[in-house]
Symmetry: C2
């Protein structure tokens, strides 16, 4: 099966519909109606054993009766009849099939069997299957105009390509772009995705020259690793704007019952982040950003010049721009001098530049020229209200001229009655100026361009391979534990594993008796902690199985003897560990996500993780750059630098631990969870002082 | 001057325009054009000494030449000519004047003089002044249709009244509602607000029976106390939805240069909260909520039933509803049984109720009936996509019937091409169903209704008056300090002030010598802290002026003697204080805001306030209910309940301290800042252990 030859799906020269119907409101009729209405340039073949013609097109009893080749077939008949029709399509030499019909895998074993059946037949003939339980695909190319979908929005040609796991959300986005009068390049929603996957579609869009920006809605990934690989390739070339849902517990529940998925919503955001996909938390911001990417260049930095002809909206814009990390630099003296020549007296010569409501084309033209020529301005944000006493068409032409002349993006909060100022609106639209009704939405769209640039500039880094490690030792421990059916490693196993990968741990030893403990204590030095080490004692600290602050042989002996008496178990040993001085508690951990590998977590321990959830995630294997970014990404990162007299922590050591942990779990996929909580950063260094490993 | 007789402004029977002009694009022409275009039912008098007629209306050389009475006058001529015209208006018996002209107070002393001049004349004649530097006022009442404004949006009648300090933002909101096809009742933007204030307008809207919801945009308040009093009265009757801007530093800067204001943006949000105003962070959410309030009842609680005919958007809706504090209850067994009878087999009988895409009017009708009759459902959220194979008009009629029959609100995420489904859209619109393009926006609009209900249910509480206090003592200390021109009270003064209002403090004393110190220590008990007490020593702890952990007479003597040698100042005394055991650090403070009174702050001390800014504010005087809500409102409130083995703190004591502090600063308006940082909650109780007072 060719991995990415989706041409038959997106560029079919002929489309047949198995289940074509004369009934006005049926899917089998709507799809043909849509193909005709959109002006499909290829051939359309309705397949219906009982009809001679449908919507004026000759109908055929079977796909096998169609004269000439068929690229793409829609199947809209009930599930039990699908495998046979796929077989017929194979005989006919069809290249791709969109199965709109629902009622397969998502309905249980019987549906699964039917799905397995049609997939096997498709594979036999090399047919790509799109769906089932899906909408279809659209290509707005004027030379093609394929509308293989039952939706009702007919986009004009454009530069945005959309792929949505949920057809409902896809349709909303398509309609929203349409309502914004923004063109679309390609559209697809592949439902259950039994064969053609979202990442294949993304690669296809990535290779499509007309597509400038990709919009993605996804609830779960069929193959997260493949997805990540492709996403990274594509985001290096063009932006992918994405949204997921099911992020609250209730939402996730609905999602699971909707289409079964693997990776949860937290890991989805981490996947987006790691691959350079821009994440959005609502559909509207996503669509607005798509417009900006489709029509404007990406700025070189985060410095924005503001031009406004009204007061309040500029206050709102600044709030939103600053909130989104944009910077509003002072104007140069040269710029100010120039503007003093051209602006009205009541104008405010600064950034924001208030040209005042009476400003016409000459004032706006000068404002644009000056802003665009400012070295310290990477993009221009405009608040443009259309005063009834101004020649707004000329102003709009000044906008467009400036946008054409310079390679810095412009976005506009265009405050008007679009019907009344139709010609002005048209000039801006045809001049590719993204216009938004609200200051907030315009500001956020511009901020998205800046976000993408920041991602592009971010150095990828290298995945370090530590060689001062003993991987065999770890393999043996895990193999033994697995063989013994143990879900959790013992304390001595955990610390051996960590040490084998060069992760510094508080010195430790295991003793069988008080005498042995005292002997080990000599090597470790006081103060010490002792823990009852037995598989039969679960919540050690609750039952007196942990004693802290031991500062002499006598105290150690007493503690061990007392434990011996308290726990009459046959495998009892004593885990002794150096007690480190107080310091900054950190938490470093790894958690396996099916299909994705390991999530790596870093944060501050104690209340910071439990109350504020102040932790950051990434996906193993981490590059050095990714690991280096983690300590600075938590909200309370200031505490790592030293705060209120406390000394700062050794960040290089923390990064080293994170990277070694990343390699450890990557080398050992059997590790399900690994928590070092806390890693203690003290005057004596950075050490793991408590840890657990679940396999 | 009548305080709230704004009838002449909002219900004029005649309007004159001083500065009327024949020039097409001038303000003096546009306002007349607007009045004519909107179909003003009263008389219009253009005033222009050189014209006979303007836009077909007879023009008069002066306002004094107009035959018959004039209620309202627009003045659009340059500032220097305004006072004289106000005088003429007085002679004519005009009741209100809208001064559109800019260039008064905001331009410096000369402008201020002109403003003072016209205000004095207006006062003499009892004329209300609206503006200057403003747009004007609109009333959509079909019997009146007064459009005294130079904007370009002509709203149809409705139930939403808007008042905006910024005309730019007001116009955007008016246009947005218009684009949403939502009616407006009244509109006003009063610019510099030299006379008619925003709170007067709010009271006017509050008393207007047609107004169901008030929309407010405000950057600063001219009289915060008056505003709060009126806002509280009005929000008890109908919702006020508000937005402010200038919340980031850059934004605040632009705001200050825009219209001078008093209260900053933090206090604005606190004002909104205290008075029951619903706060919004963007214009779009505000407009969407206004639509919901205009057309739907307020629900009794936060439990929502979801009906959907598409998958993905319902996942998104749930995320947004849950994020906004709404609850999605299970359906009752009775409801499920009923739905099993009426729904298609592929429907998902649960909450969310997925009626599936093929559902028609009978399915939707049943879905509505069942949801509306559920005891545990307070409101209904609908995702409605218009499948091409369904009779969507009938579905829409089922919506409307259900909304009419029951008193529970419905909002709808209506996913359609509104042009194509014009008749369906019309049915929903005429049936007062608020329809939104996105799941997120529909969910947020519904959440706003719930927020208002929660505010309405919140008990107001009483402002306690503590009598076990010694206010005279405090008055004397502050008077003495003021007389001595001291900006900051001394330690002994601070603790005396706190004790006088019954705020528990760690025991303290002041000594002049080591001997005296030891004598005082006997009464206080060890451990103790000693601080060098002198106005000449500023940063005590940096220069060795604070010694902690003193546990014996000898240690105390040594510390005092050392300080005596280190600080050769003539006013040196020794402030001795009990050192409390470790505990939970809290911060309680007050800060005076001009015109508003005191902001009261509560939070956790240390990193929580400095890194996470985890503090809450309210405005003094606090009611008992307001104070009781504060400890539970911080993010880390779980730490107050006891966390990880630490004991919980005595919240009643904290609330008592907050209330006493509130009374203290209310009784003593000279206190500019009061910080108790920390209040230490320990096993020994809750005590102020460090504090400062700035007057």
């Amino acid at each position: 099966m060719s991995d990415n030859n989706l041409d038959a799906l997106f560029k079919p020269s002929s489309v047949a519909l198995i289940g074509a119907s004369s009934k006005e409101l049926s899917i089998g009729n709507v799809i043909i109606k849509n193909l005709l209405h959109y002006g499909f340039k290829g051939s359309i073949f309705p397949i219906n054993p009982k009809a001679d013609e449908i919507r004026g097109l000759k109908a055929y009893p079977s796909i096998l009766d169609v004269p000439g080749p068929v690229d793409l077939v829609h199947i809209v008949i009930p599930p039990p009849f699908v495998p046979e029709q796929v077989e017929n399509c194979g005989k006919k030499g069809v290249k791709a099939i969109i199965i709109n019909t629902a009622g397969f895998k998502e309905m249980g074993a019987e549906g699964q069997a039917l799905e397995d059946d049609f997939l096997a037949r498709a594979k036999k003939y090399g047919i790509r299957i799109f769906g089932p339980n899906c909408q279809g695909a659209i290509n707005s190319d004027p030379e093609l105009r394929s509308y293989c979908n039952f939706t009702f929005t007919f986009p004009k040609p454009g530069y945005i390509s959309v792929v949505a796991q949920s057809g409902g959300v896809g349709a909303v986005i398509m309609q929203a772009l349409y309502d914004m009068d923004i063109g679309l390049r390609m559209y697809s929603s592949n439902g259950n995705a039994s064969d053609v996957s979202i990442h294949e579609i993304i690669r296809y869009y990535g290779n499509d020259k007309q597509t400038r920006v990709i919009v993605l809605y996804v609830e779960s990934l069929s193959d997260p690793k493949q997805f990540m690989e492709i996403a990274r390739e594509v985001t290096a070339k063009k932006p992918i704007l994405a949204m997921t849902a099911g992020t609250t517990d209730k939402g996730a529940e609905a999602s699971r019952s909707h289409i079964g998925g693997l990776a949860g919503s937290i890991s989805m955001e981490v996947v987006f982040k790691k691959t350079g996909i821009l994440f959005f938390s609502n559909q509207e911001d996503l669509c607005n950003a798509a417009e900006a990417f489709a029509y404007q260049p990406v700025p070189e930095g985060n410095k924005v010049g503001i031009i406004t002809n009204t007061g309040g909206p500029s206050v709102i814009a600044i709030d939103e721009l600053v909130r989104n990390g944009l910077d509003i630099p002072q104007l140069s003296e040269k710029a100010k001098a120039e503007l003093k020549e051209t602006m009205f007296e009541s104008a405010s010569i600064a950034n924001p530049l208030d040209v005042v409501a009476t400003a016409g084309a000459p004032q706006f033209k000068s404002a644009f020229e000056v802003m665009m020529n400012e070295k310290d301005v990477d993009s221009v944000y405009v608040n443009f209200v259309t005063p009834p006493f101004v020649d707004n068409e000329s102003v709009a032409r000044a906008f467009v001229a400036a946008a054409k002349k310079y390679n810095k993006p412009i976005v506009c909060n265009y405050m008007t009655d679009k019907q009344k100022w139709k010609s002005t609106t048209k000039i801006l639209k045809e001049g590719s100026i993204p216009c938004f009704d609200f200051a907030e939405t315009a500001a956020k769209a511009l901020a998205s361009l800046v976000r993408y640039q920041k991602i592009r500039l971010k150095p990828e880094g290298n995945i370090p391979q530590f060689t001062d490690i003993e991987p065999e030792k770890v393999k043996n421990i895990i193999d033994r534990a697995k063989a013994a059916n143990k879900g959790m490693l013992s304390a001595s196993e955990v610390y051996t594993v960590l040490e084998s990968y060069g992760i510094p741990v508080a010195g430790w030893a295991v003793a069988s008796s008080a005498d042995e403990a005292v002997k080990e204590a000599k090597k470790l030095g006081y103060p010490l902690v002792v823990k009852a080490d037995s598989e039969q004692i679960i919540h050690k600290s609750d039952v007196g199985g942990v004693v802290l602050n031991l500062s002499s042989d006598r105290e150690l002996e007493t503690a061990v003897t007392k434990m011996k008496n308290s726990f009459p178990v046959d495998d009892l040993k004593f885990f002794i560990q150096q007690q480190k001085p107080k310091g900054q508690e950190l938490i470093v951990g790894a958690k396996k996500e099916k299909g994705l590998g390991h999530l790596i977590m870093f944060g501050l321990g104690g209340v910071f993780v439990e109350v504020f959830r102040d932790v950051v995630f990434n996906i193993a294997p981490l590059t050095d750059k990714e690991a280096e970014a983690m300590p600075g990404s938590i909200k309370a990162s200031i505490l790592l630098d030293g705060f209120r007299g406390q000394k700062g922590v050794d960040k290089a050591k923390i990064v080293d631990i994170i990277l070694r942990l990343s390699q450890l779990v990557t080398d050992n996929p059997d590790i399900k969870e690994l928590d070092i909580n806390p890693v203690l950063a003290t005057s004596e260094g950075v050490h793991a002082v408590d840890a657990r490993i679940i396999i």
